[in-house]
């Protein structure tokens, strides 16, 4: 073939398309060159390859210097050695030099056993630290969502790529130069004083312990052991398709039953499900979609369309910071987790006779922005939050291990009723396009009065950055659009600002692939197959459910009958809807 390049890597012939890097060419024949700063989630827009760390160097015949394989393209007849004595020596020295300005306190590091630098040190057989250098003193910070300890930063620039190129948030970047270089938020401020959305994608890609989640596990253990508290759990849809990875299970294993059992074993008094909140979100948001559509079709020119989803807390932060002029477009519906909290602390607490201050609602989320969301003032009643706090999928895994629970011996259990009942529509909230598909299932049936001929809307599934579809509602063509990553959201919002976004409904999720690749999920270490496997599992979870439409969830129907009345009722507005704030930095 014309565009194929032939070369030799470690004496083995390989033929790859023009434009392939030496690193990828080697991987194609099973030669796994170690890399550190490089990350490439193929098929998504997530890529960072600054050739900054030089761990991946190789020897190329005829070249005087060693070449970084992540940034060197193959050429015809190239002869590459990935493991010559010179390469192995250089690679080890590079790692040793990184260690010379690293705290090396691995035993107590939150990233221990998940650190990519630590893995390389093991792999390179480094048994002593030959270089003792000056240690850079950099900033430390604990925000509502993210913990920052830049002493552990190795300047790989992955977080910078995520924050700037993928999310276009533009908060994290390199400042100063030489030994003083550090990755810092704008004007070296605290995250809380910048446009940071707490999406947590910097944490998801950080190879070391520089960026980690804010840990709430100790606080949770105290509450679980406090006899005066009733502690209830609500895990998000994306948690059950990823948690198993932390216990050595294959990516994409559905562990819903073990998840419920583990939460019960940890001592939660009631184990409910955020999926219930997701079904409730569809009821409210779906009603809002229909309400705006009917007004629009009735000739009301003031209706704000497209209506945008508002489940994703990082996306909410993003538009509050960057598009304060467009705050009337997003749905006023709270996120599923917050809806759950509001209902648990009113409807359910009243039913059970539990006073609000005794009840602790804990969400288990694939997300770090959820930690911040819990702390929003508008989600509190007299200072008492609807959701007390949130732990990530990773934190739950750590708690299970710490609490002497043998994961493999956990039985499959069910969630408690009534706030544990959910439909397949709720299950798919965890993948990009899922909220849209769930909303369409309900909106279609309520609008047309007909049963859906085909329940799956496959056109809004998958990893394409921006997806669109047209749905026939009794002759009316409903145009919808789905975006994931905040960079893609920005493309849509800039169009909206210019008056050129011809859709009726838009879904946005901040993380690549949706919540399944959230900042609180088990680390993917650059392997996109893990994210694809989780998405597949999400849709399998949906098709395995007896009820697959939110409005058919019997406990949701009961909640409306007993307590809320109708979607968008006065009580619904009071408990399940919110408003947004101008948070732009002047």
């Amino acid at each position: 073939m014309e565009n194929m390049i032939n070369l030799l890597i470690d004496k083995r012939p390989v033929s790859v398309p023009k434009g392939t890097t030496v690193l990828d060419a080697a991987a194609s024949i099973g030669i796994n060159i170690p890399a550190l700063c490089h990350m490439d989630l193929k098929g998504t827009c997530v890529k960072s390859s600054p050739a900054a760390c030089r761990i991946c160097v190789v020897e190329i015949e005829g070249r005087r210097n060693l070449a970084p394989s992540c940034a060197t393209m193959v050429t015809e007849g190239m002869v590459v050695s990935t493991n010559s004595a010179r390469v192995v020596r250089a690679r080890k020295t590079v790692a040793e030099l990184i260690l010379s300005d690293h705290p090396n306190d691995c035993l107590t590091c939150p990233k221990c056993n998940h650190c990519e630098l630590q893995q390389l040190v093991t792999r390179f057989n480094i048994r002593e630290m030959p270089y003792k250098g000056e240690q850079s003193e950099r900033k430390k910070e604990v925000t509502a969502a993210i913990t920052r300890n830049m002493d552990k930063c190795i300047l790989c620039r992955r977080c910078e790529s995520m924050c700037n190129n993928v999310q276009t948030v533009g908060v994290l970047g390199a400042v100063k130069r030489g030994f003083e270089t550090t990755i810092a938020p704008t004007f070296d401020r605290m995250f809380s004083e910048t446009d940071c959305t707490y999406c947590g994608q910097c944490v998801a890609v950080c190879p070391t312990g520089a960026l980690t989640e804010r840990d709430n596990t100790d606080r949770l253990l105290e509450d679980l052991n406090n006899p005066d508290k009733i502690v209830i759990a609500q895990p998000a849809p994306a948690v059950r398709v990823a948690l198993g990875e932390e216990f050595g299970m294959k990516p994409g294993t559905i562990v819903t039953g073990k998840l419920a059992a583990s939460l019960r074993a940890l001592g939660f008094d009631y184990v409910f499900d955020t999926d219930f909140g997701a079904d409730l979100t569809i009821m409210e948001e779906g009603a809002e979609i229909l309400h705006r559509l009917k007004a629009f079709l009735g000739g009301d020119k003031s209706v704000k369309l497209p209506i945008m989803t508002s489940c994703c807390p990082a996306w909410v932060n993003f538009y509050e910071h960057n598009y304060p002029d467009l705050l009337e477009y997003p749905s006023s519906a709270k996120s599923p987790a917050q809806m759950f909290g509001a209902i648990a602390k009113t409807y359910w607490a009243q039913k059970m006779g539990i006073p609000r201050e005794k009840l602790v609602v804990v969400s288990v989320m694939p997300c770090l922005a959820k930690k911040y969301e819990c702390e929003r003032e508008e989600f509190k009643v007299n200072g008492n939050p609807d959701v007390d706090y949130s732990i990530s999928t990773r934190e739950l895994a750590r708690l299970i291990k710490r609490s002497n629970i043998d994961w493999n011996k956990l039985p499959d259990e069910d969630f408690d009723k009534p706030l544990g009942e959910s439909s397949g529509a709720a299950a798919i909230f965890g993948a990009t396009g899922g909220v849209m598909e769930a909303a369409l299932r309900t909106v279609y049936e309520v609008y047309t009065g007909k049963t859906l001929p085909r329940i799956e809307f496959t056109e809004v599934r998958g990893l394409d950055g921006i997806k669109e579809a047209e749905i026939d509602l009794n002759g009316f063509k409903l145009k919808v659009c789905v975006a994931h990553t905040l960079g893609n959201a920005r493309i849509l919002m800039d169009k909206l600002r210019a008056g050129d976004l011809p859709y009726h409904v838009v879904e946005v999720m901040a993380c690549p692939g949706g919540c399944i690749d959230g900042g609180g999920q088990p680390y993917h270490h650059g392997n996109v197959d893990i994210i694809k496997a989780r998405a597949k599992a999400i849709y399998a979870e949906d098709s395995g459910k007896p009820i697959r439409k939110s409005h058919e969830n019997p406990d949701i129907q009961k909640l409306y009958k007993e307590f809320l009345g109708e979607p968008l009722s006065e009580r619904s507005h009071q408990l399940l809807h919110t408003h947004y704030f101008d948070k732009s930095i002047k």
């Binding site: 533009g170 400042v175 704008t186």
Partner: protein
């Protein structure tokens, strides 16, 4: 955001500089150069205006400003002091002069006294090596200095 308040004229001036360079992000360094030569320094609000005009994140501007030692975010004092650390001055004890200036003014190199009067910097050679060690205070050059002279020199500029 910042305690520093930018006057409307200064803000307009910064915008004009950006426009002169067609708001081109590739001209960031030239824009920063010209802005600093006009305003004397590059405080946060100025960097935010430039970022806004160029359509880039303020972090990018801040990254460039902190990368190049030429750019400064602290205003110079009304009376800038520079101590020559060129070879001739250095071998005749300029480092001790610098230490004494730091002690007397109670600021570090690159800083300005809280009253905005003095700022302290180093430079390399003012072409008066015969008078080494040399320091400049405002427009005036002082030669053959001893650390014991410093207090007296600073006192000359009392209000």
């Amino acid at each position: 955001m910042s305690e520093f308040k930018l006057s409307c004229e200064a803000a307009r001036e910064v915008e004009e500089i950006c426009e002169k360079f067609h708001n081109d992000p590739g001209e960031l360094i030239s824009i920063l150069h010209e802005t600093q030569s006009k305003l004397g320094y590059l405080p946060e609000p100025v960097q935010r205006i430039i970022a806004g005009k160029l359509g880039i994140a303020p972090q990018k501007v801040y990254g460039v400003v902190t990368f190049y030692s030429f750019f400064t975010m602290t205003p110079k004092g009304r009376i800038p002091i520079s101590v020559c650390l060129g070879t001739a001055c250095y071998v005749r004890g300029a480092d001790k002069l610098l230490e004494e200036f730091k002690r007397v003014l109670n600021i570090d190199v690159g800083e300005t006294t809280p009253d905005g009067k003095f700022s302290l910097d180093c430079l390399r050679c003012v072409g008066a090596c015969g008078l080494a060690p040399v320091a400049t205070v405002g427009d005036k050059v002082y030669g053959r200095l001893n650390p014991s002279d410093i207090k007296k020199i600073v006192a000359e500029y009392a209000d």
